[in-house]
């Protein structure tokens, strides 16, 4: 069996971060966590994950900023934006332009999320 896909979860809410990581590990993913934008970016550089799930609203920066930074470094990493508040079309458009692959709104359906993750990861990616 191939190595499990590496996931990086960036969220300042430790409970959410952990529960999501544990659920996804249960689903067979290798999950890493980060509580701030900076530590998330550092972890991503260090781990080079297959996918990063990040909250838009973080204490030190925004998810859009991370998205922009990470996309510049890697074309293949799947970037999933996670939000608890309402996003306007303009914001979503901006996110996609910065390199985001997907948006999910809390509280998300995990069945759907895992299915979506697997689908995104199975697609041929540049530089993978």
């Amino acid at each position: 069996m191939a190595d499990p896909n590496k996931l990086l979860i960036i969220d300042d809410d430790a409970h959410l971060r952990e529960s999501l990581a544990e659920v996804l590990e249960l689903e067979g993913f290798e999950c890493h966590q980060a509580g701030t934008a900076q530590s998330g970016i550092d972890a991503a550089i260090k781990l080079n994950p297959d996918a990063v799930i990040m909250d838009i609203q973080l204490p030190d920066s925004s998810g859009f900023q991370i998205c922009s930074t990470l996309r510049k470094r890697s074309k293949s990493t799947i970037l999933i934006m996670m939000t608890g508040r309402f996003l306007s079309s303009e914001e979503k458009k901006q996110g996609f332009e910065l390199g985001a692959d997907e948006y999910i709104t809390k509280p998300f359906d995990l069945t759907e999320l895992t299915a979506r993750l697997r689908q995104l990861l199975s697609r041929p990616r540049p530089g993978a």
């Binding site: 809410d13 608890g84 508040r85 079309s89 509280p107 359906d109 995990l110």
Partner: protein, 641 residues
């Protein structure tokens, strides 16, 4: 104010003037005429009396002279002077026969002894008398003639004595004296005939001592000691003139006209006096005065109504002017003109003309003022309306602003709340997922049920957050122009109607075009239809129809549910107001918001026990013609609520 027809003080004044002017000259002239008449009557009476008095004085003198002459002639006859007693007796008898006035005739010797005596009332053989010491005898003997010695025969009838000397041409002196006693009754008879007692005048002959010789009234003359009053005697005898007269005021209060004339005989101091009470002339004057007074009265009676009429005529234009002024004061300019005495051709008419000019000018000014006032009022109304409209606009704008701000604040808050709630919800969901995964396929049915409850509640909480966010967010409207029926048909075709609801659909054949944001409008209609289905849990009929009402396209949704009381109806469109056990109370608030965003409106009508009708009003989109002006701003849709 006085009644308009009443005559004023001016009329009374004029009346008084007319009366004065007409009666004063009349009265003055009458007064003078009466005075003149009184005077000329007095003069006439006096001159007549004087003439009469003079005439009678003459008559009396002649009357007395007649007897004197008889005696003188007889004494001068030779046969008589011869002192033959027989002859003398014959002469005396003859005289007595011819002249009835002689009462006694005597012949007296120069020594004074009576030689012969003849008398009408003598006894036979009378006693001869001696006159030697008598005045009349001596006078006649020495001077030639005596007249006088007034006596009353038998105490009543006045007599006088005449004595003449008998002269014999052959002798050197008188041979005797012829005596005659003459009755003066004839004078009284003459006066009585001339001045009857029925007349106004009385006449008398008096001697210088007041002896009443004759009187027009015999009763006065023939009485013992008949004399005239000493006052009158004094007045008469002290006169220097031979004759005269004038008005007399006696001490007993009698007023009379008196005229006198001395009898022209040197030997006699007799006066004829004619008197007449003055009251005749006064009575005449009084009668004239009375007549004049009645004439004045008649004139006054004639003048008063005449003068009243004339005064009324003169003052009428003035009263008309006054009434016209009253009308002007009330603002009745045209009525005032009808009252003006413009046809009067004098100063009053000229005044009326000036007055009319003034009235015209006043009317013009007043009209201008009224016009200006009306314009001002109109302008004021216009301003008020403008202010009202502006105020309404401002208020609406303010409300809109407040609403927008409130929505924005609510949106911001909702976003925060949503984020904060969504995280725990996400954690719970993750945890539930984890548990379910760990439990595997074989699980206690009760645990499985409760896990389902947790998941369902998470979903519901999530939905509520979605709804609140949906309501509070401000997204741009994306209107699409489409036929109303097409929109409704599409919506109904996918709506999951439960089986117990019978749908009655009636769509407007004309199917007007509307410009709608399909997502929002779908949400609005769905909310209303959803509510309708909810209030009919067992069975019911849902009527959906479209129609056009003027500028408006209407979507009507009618249910046969229990209906709502009025106090609920008032609040149903308010956000967060709900009658349900669970619900955000945003469903109808969203409808209201959507309709507002579409420049339409929503109205509700409900009857308890019968059902509720919602009507959504959308402006009908007409085909824009090239170059056509944009449609005017929408008014409020009409419709029952």
């Amino acid at each position: 104010m006085a009644p308009p027809k009443r005559r004023g003080r001016l009329s009374v004044r004029l009346l008084l003037w007319f009366l004065t002017l007409s009666l004063l000259p009349l009265g003055s002239v009458a007064w003078f005429l009466i005075g003149i008449a009184h005077e000329s009557l007095s003069n006439e009476i006096l001159s007549t009396q004087q003439a009469l008095a003079a005439g009678f004085a003459d008559t009396v003198g002649k009357y007395v002279s007649t007897f004197k002459n008889v005696l003188i002639e007889t004494a001068g006859i030779e046969e008589f002077a011869g002192m033959n007693s027989v002859k003398q007796q014959q002469f005396l008898n003859r005289i007595m026969q011819v002249h009835l006035a002689f009462i006694e005739l005597s012949v007296v010797s120069p020594a004074g002894v009576e030689l012969m005596q003849t008398g009408r009332f003598l006894k036979p053989n009378p006693e001869m008398r001696n006159f030697a010491g008598e005045d009349f005898f001596n006078t006649a003997l020495k001077r030639g003639l005596y007249m006088g010695r007034l006596e009353r025969f038998q105490g009543l009838y006045p007599t006088m004595t005449i004595a003449v000397p008998i002269a014999d041409p052959k002798a050197a002196g008188p041979v005797g004296v012829l005596l005659g006693k003459v009755s003066l009754n004839g004078l009284t008879q003459m006066l009585g005939m001339e001045f009857p007692s029925s007349g106004r005048s009385q006449a008398s002959v008096i001697a210088g001592d007041g002896f009443l010789i004759a009187h027009s009234n015999p009763k006065e003359a023939f009485k013992p000691e008949a004399r005239m009053g000493p006052e009158l005697v004094k007045i008469i005898t002290t006169q220097n003139e031979e004759k005269g007269g004038g008005p007399l005021l006696l001490s007993d209060g009698n007023r009379l006209f008196g005229a006198f004339a001395f009898v022209p005989n040197k030997m006699l101091e007799w006066v004829v006096f004619i008197q007449q009470p003055m009251d005749y002339a006064e009575r005449t004057s009084a009668a004239m005065l009375k007549r004049t007074a009645s004439i004045v009265l008649v004139v006054a009676i004639c003048v008063i109504p005449l003068a009243w009429l004339v005064a009324g005529n003169i003052t009428q234009p003035i009263r008309d002017l006054r009434d016209a002024a009253d009308r002007i004061a009330k603002g009745q300019f045209d009525e005032a003109r009808e009252l003006l005495p413009l046809d009067v051709s004098n100063e009053v008419g000229q005044l009326a003309e000036r007055f009319d000019a003034m009235r015209e000018a006043l009317k013009e000014k007043t009209d201008e003022l009224v016009g200006a006032k009306e314009k001002l009022e109109e302008f004021t109304h216009f301003l008020e309306r403008r202010v009202d409209a502006r105020t309404r606009e401002l208020k609406a704008a303010q409300e809109l602003l407040i609403q927008k701000e409130r929505l924005a604040a609510m949106g911001a808050m909702a976003n925060v709340v949503a984020h904060e709630v969504r995280n725990p919800l996400a954690v719970i969901r993750n945890a539930t997922y984890f548990v379910r995964k760990k439990l595997g396929a074989v699980v206690d049915p009760m645990i499985a049920k409760h896990l389902k409850i947790i998941e369902s509640e998470i979903q519901q909480a999530s939905d509520i957050i979605d709804e609140i966010l949906d309501f509070s967010r401000t997204r741009d409207l994306q209107p699409t122009k489409m036929p109303l029926n097409a929109f409704i048909e599409e919506l109904l075709s996918v709506y999951p109607f439960p089986g117990h609801i019978s749908l009655v659909k009636r769509l407007d054949a004309s199917s007007p075009n509307v410009a709608i944001d399909i997502t929002e409008m779908r949400q609005a209609v769905r909310n209303i239809v959803g509510n309708a289905i909810e209030v009919m849990p067992s069975a019911g009929s849902l009527g959906i129809q479209t129609y056009t009402q003027g500028e408006w396209a209407v979507i009507e949704v009618a249910d046969s549910g229990p209906g709502m009381p009025p106090d609920v109806l008032d609040k149903i469109f308010a956000a967060f107001y709900t009658t349900k056990a669970r619900g955000t109370g945003l469903g109808l608030a969203v409808v209201k918001k959507v309709m507002d965003r579409h420049k339409g409106d929503v109205k509700v009508e409900s009857a308890l026990g019968k059902g509720t009708v919602f009507r959504l009003y959308l402006p009908v989109q007409t085909e824009p013609r090239p170059g056509a002006a944009p449609p005017p701003s929408q008014g409020s849709p009409t419709g029952r609520v």
